[in-house]
C-alpha cells in the first residue's frame, strides 16, 4: 500500500490532520460547541461551490468561507445577537443552502464534488501536503503558546473575564483554528465529516482520562489511530476515507465507553 505515492501522501497529510483536529476539537468540546465544526463545514461547502463557479481552486475558496463562517458565529455569540446554538443554526443552514444554489449554478454536481464532501485518498498532491503541514504546524504552535490562557477560559470563562484575560480574542482564535482545521482536512476527511474527527477523539478520551493534560494526549492518540486505520480500510475496501476514518473514531469511542463501564464496576 505504501509503495504507492498517493497513499504515502494521504498518510502523511492524514497524520497531520489526525493530530491537529483533536487538539482544536478539545477546546470546542470543553466550550460545549461541539457542533461548531459542522456549522463551519457547511459554510466551507458553499466556498467549494463558489470556487467551481468562479473558476478558482475550491480548497482556497472553502478555506476563506470557513474563516468567514467562524468569524460570523463568534460575532453573533459575542454580541449576544443569538444564543450559541442559534448562531450555529443560522450559519449552518445558510451555508448548506448557499452551497446547493451555487453548485447547481456552476453545474458541478459530479464525483469530484463528492471527494470534497467525504474525502478522497487520491486527491492529495505534494503541494497540498506542504500547505497542510504549514497550516497544521502553525495551528499547533498557536495552541502551545496560548494553551494556559485557553484552558483558563474553558475552565471558568467568567473568572477569566474578571481576571482580565482577553476572552473574546481567545474565543475567536479557537473558532479561527477550527476553520483552518476544516480547510486542511477537506482533502482527506471531507468537509461534511471533519467536525466528527475534531469531536469524537476528545469525547472518547475524556471517558478514560484522569486530567485535562491526559485528555488532550489521549485525544491525539485516538485521532491519529482513527486516521491511520480509516485510510487503510479506505484503500483496501475502496471506500471514501472520510466515512472509514469517522467510523474508526466511533469504534474508539465505543471501546473507551466500555472501558469506563468496566472500570466503574470493578
Amino acid at each position: 500500500m505504501l509503495d504507492l505515492e498517493f497513499m504515502r501522501l494521504a498518510f502523511a497529510a492524514g497524520a497531520i490532520v489526525g493530530v491537529v483536529a483533536p487538539v482544536v476539537g478539545f477546546f470546542l468540546v470543553q466550550r460545549q460547541m461541539s457542533l461548531i465544526g459542522d456549522g463551519i463545514g457547511h459554510v466551507a461547502f458553499a466556498g467549494v461551490a463558489a470556487g467551481y463557479l468562479i473558476g478558482v481552486s475550491p480548497v482556497w475558496t472553502a478555506l476563506a468561507a470557513a474563516i468567514i463562517g467562524a468569524v460570523g458565529i463568534e460575532w453573533l455569540r459575542a454580541h449576544k445577537q443569538a444564543a450559541g446554538d442559534q448562531a450555529l443554526a443560522l450559519v449552518f443552514y445558510t451555508g448548506i443552502a448557499g452551497g446547493v444554489v451555487l453548485i447547481s449554478a456552476a453545474g458541478a454536481l459530479n464525483a469530484n464534488l463528492f471527494s470534497y464532501l467525504f474525502g478522497s485518498i487520491l486527491t492529495v498532491t505534494r503541494r497540498d501536503l506542504f500547505t497542510i503541514a504549514l497550516l497544521g504546524l502553525g495551528s499547533l504552535v498557536v495552541v502551545a503558546v496560548l494553551l494556559r490562557a485557553l484552558l483558563a477560559v474553558s475552565i471558568d470563562e467568567e473568572g477569566a473575564r474578571v481576571a482580565g484575560l482577553p476572552v473574546p480574542v481567545l474565543n475567536a482564535v479557537i473558532s479561527m483554528l477550527a476553520a483552518l482545521t476544516i480547510g486542511i482536512s477537506m482533502r482527506i476527511v471531507g468537509i461534511l465529516l471533519i467536525a466528527a474527527l475534531m469531536v469524537l477523539p476528545v469525547i472518547a478520551a475524556q471517558r478514560i482520562a484522569w486530567s485535562l493534560r491526559s485528555t488532550m494526549g489521549l485525544s491525539i492518540v485516538v485521532g491519529l489511530a482513527s486516521v491511520l486505520a480509516g485510510l487503510t480500510v479506505s484503500y483496501y475496501g475502496d471506500l471514501p476515507p472520510g466515512g472509514t476514518i469517522v467510523l474508526a473514531a466511533t469504534g474508539f469511542f465505543l471501546a473507551s465507553s466500555a472501558t469506563e463501564l468496566i472500570r466503574a464496576r470493578l
Binding site: Q30, L146, R148, L151, A152, I155, V162, W210
Partner: protein, 238 residues
C-alpha cells in the same frame, strides 16, 4: 490608602427604565470581610458584578481601589468565585489544573516560573487539598470542589476575593467549614472579602459587617445589630 470598593449614588438596570439597584452608596475599606445579603432578585449579585467592572452603572460611580471599576488595571488582583459550582470543562480537570488556571491571570503565556508554581501549591495547601491535588474535581465532594475554586481564586494572590453564592448546593457541614476557612484566610492574608449569599447563617459569626440589599441598601452594620431579623433580611427596612 484608597477604599477597596466605593459606590457613589449608583443606579443600574439591565433594561431601560427598570432599575434593579438605585441610590447605592457604599464604602468598603481594604481588608474588610463583608457579607452582601438579601432576597433573590434583590440586586446583590448585580452589586458584585458592578464592583468587578462586569457591568457599568446607569448612573453614579463605582470605584475599585481608587480606579473606575470597569477600567481597573490590576485585574489579576481580583479573585472571583462565580455563582455556580460546576466546572466549565467536561474533561476531568484535576485540582492542580483548576488552581493553575487561577494563576494564569498573573502569567497567561509562556512557562510558569518557580514563584508561580509555589503560589499554586501554597493556595492548594491553604484550602487543605494537598493530598488531593492530582484528583479530578468530579471525584470530590461539593465542599471540596468549592475549596478547589477558592484555591483557584487565591492562586493569583488577590487583593479582593469575591464569592457569589458560594454555598449553593453544599451541605450544612461544608458551609460551616467554608466559613471557618474564609475566616482563617482573612486573618492570615488580610485580603478584602466580599461574600454574596441569600443564606448567610453559616457566615454570621465570622463576618465583620453585613450589608443587606433589596434594590437599595437597607441595612449596613455589624451582624450583631440585627439578630432578630437574621434569617429574613427583607424585613430589615420595615
Amino acid at each position: 490608602m484608597p477604599l477597596a470598593v466605593e459606590f457613589a449614588q449608583v443606579e443600574f438596570g439591565y433594561l431601560p427604565g427598570q432599575p434593579v439597584l438605585h441610590d447605592v452608596d457604599l464604602q468598603i475599606e481594604a481588608g474588610e470581610f463583608v457579607a452582601l445579603a438579601g432576597p433573590n432578585g434583590g440586586g446583590k449579585t448585580t452589586l458584585l458584578r458592578l464592583t468587578l467592572g462586569l457591568e457599568r452603572p446607569t448612573r453614579g460611580d463605582v470605584r475599585l481601589f481608587g480606579e473606575p471599576a470597569d477600567s481597573f488595571r490590576d485585574r489579576a488582583g481580583l479573585g472571583y468565585l462565580a455563582q455556580r459550582t460546576n466546572l466549565g470543562v467536561q474533561a476531568p480537570a484535576t485540582v492542580r489544573e483548576v488552581v493553575a488556571a487561577g494563576r494564569c491571570a498573573r502569567k497567561p503565556f509562556g512557562r510558569f516560573a518557580r514563584s508561580d508554581d509555589d503560589a499554586i501549591e501554597e493556595a492548594i495547601e491553604r484550602v487543605g487539598l494537598g493530598e488531593l491535588r492530582n484528583r479530578p474535581l468530579t471525584r470530590l465532594s461539593g465542599g471540596q470542589q468549592q475549596r478547589a475554586f477558592i484555591a483557584k481564586a487565591l492562586a493569583a494572590e488577590p487583593r479582593l476575593l469575591a464569592l457569589d453564592e458560594p454555598t449553593t448546593g453544599v451541605d450544612v457541614e461544608s458551609q460551616e467549614a467554608l466559613a471557618e476557612l474564609l475566616a482563617r484566610l482573612h486573618r492570615e492574608l488580610g485580603v478584602t472579602i466580599l461574600y454574596v449569599s441569600h443564606e448567610f447563617g453559616a457566615i454570621e459569626h465570622v463576618v465583620e459587617r453585613l450589608v443587606l440589599v433589596r434594590e437599595r441598601i437597607v441595612f449596613d452594620g455589624s451582624p450583631a445589630a440585627l439578630p432578630e431579623l437574621w434569617h429574613d433580611p427583607s424585613h430589615a427596612h420595615a
